[in-house]
Symmetry: C2
Subunit: 200 residues, 2 copies
Amino acid sequence: MAQSVANTVLVESGRDRILDEAAALFLRHGYEGASLRQLADTVGMKAGSLYYHFASKDDLLTEILRRGIDVMQTAFDDAEAASADARPVARVEAHVRAHLSALFENGPYTAAHVMTFRTAPETVREVVVPLRDAYEARWTEMLRLLQADGALDPTVDVNVIRLVLFGAMNASVEWFDTDRGNLDRFAAAITGQFWNGVGA
Amino acid sequence: MAQSVANTVLVESGRDRILDEAAALFLRHGYEGASLRQLADTVGMKAGSLYYHFASKDDLLTEILRRGIDVMQTAFDDAEAASADARPVARVEAHVRAHLSALFENGPYTAAHVMTFRTAPETVREVVVPLRDAYEARWTEMLRLLQADGALDPTVDVNVIRLVLFGAMNASVEWFDTDRGNLDRFAAAITGQFWNGVGA
DNA sequence: TTGCCTACCTAACGAACGTTAGGTAGGGTG
DNA sequence: CACCCTACCTAACGTTCGTTAGGTAGGCAA
């Protein structure tokens, strides 16, 4: 019982376990490429039983995408609180580190989100789009303020540099290995490249 | 007959037409999300007839991924020839512009490649990986030489900045609209951000 | 004219898919 | 002890999937 309690904590069971494994599967094989029977196998139940927890496969994806954004928003909150009156470049680095934390250190939801959203069924995307927009708006607003304060090159398009930065960070899901690289250093590198460029 | 010849040129038929539409479908819905019947419908034939041109769906994907790399390589060749003795930043911009050209101006193959490769079946990936590596190696080598010549910040990891740059460019498939934006200006913007950064 | 090759078609196969209906073991509550 | 609710199970439904076998119209060659 002590062990069963420990197990419940170490590897969760039930609904959260399903979401975790589903997000990992969707990330690896894509949404349509992962089947519910495959998912049921990895969580140790039968495909039909998944419907006790979720109304449909689309529903499952919707909640995963939603959680992905929740994780990003929470990370953004933390970065905001921690770097509210830091220097501009330090503010950016804090938020870059936070976004990377969402991608790599808080479950597979954010990674699954950024990788599966584009090909998700339109009915699912419709539900999630406003949440995405809200998160993106916070980034845009932060960068806009930095530019208004003269900390950012006034000639750049804030939306473009945000999308370029997002592309770079999100793509790292495909190649960055947390076992071999350090996220603090990576955040510093990507921020340095973003802020100062790589030209000598 | 004059018209049929014109049609053959304007909207191609047969094998190339299938590949074109398949790449576009895989790009939009993902590889597993797009069905052969859907593909057959858009090219105006029956699903079984596709097998006159391709041995399997995996085979179709393999050729699309291969073409995606061919397009990139050709673009790289052109950029190399056109900017062989240009200033470092102009060399980089030429290659950025070339990669964007591969993504947006030479059919859906490169875009389909960068978006579907990650979730492609392992047997398909195995075939394509060496080709990808060869293309990536050319970029790495170019950046390495720039760094050796003192044109690039000696402290940065060439492989990391390449992956960051690739992530930014490839992700633009998701948001950049060639009808509303100019690729020359976009290439200049992304190169400027890459080379000089956005800090004021 | 005969014959062949190209480029399709029709029709179906078995497997896998998401999904559902109805059943059941077991712990918690009255 | 009786009851019920949670968390599954079994078993199947109808659909769609990739794929295949066999047929065929039309153009080109001999």
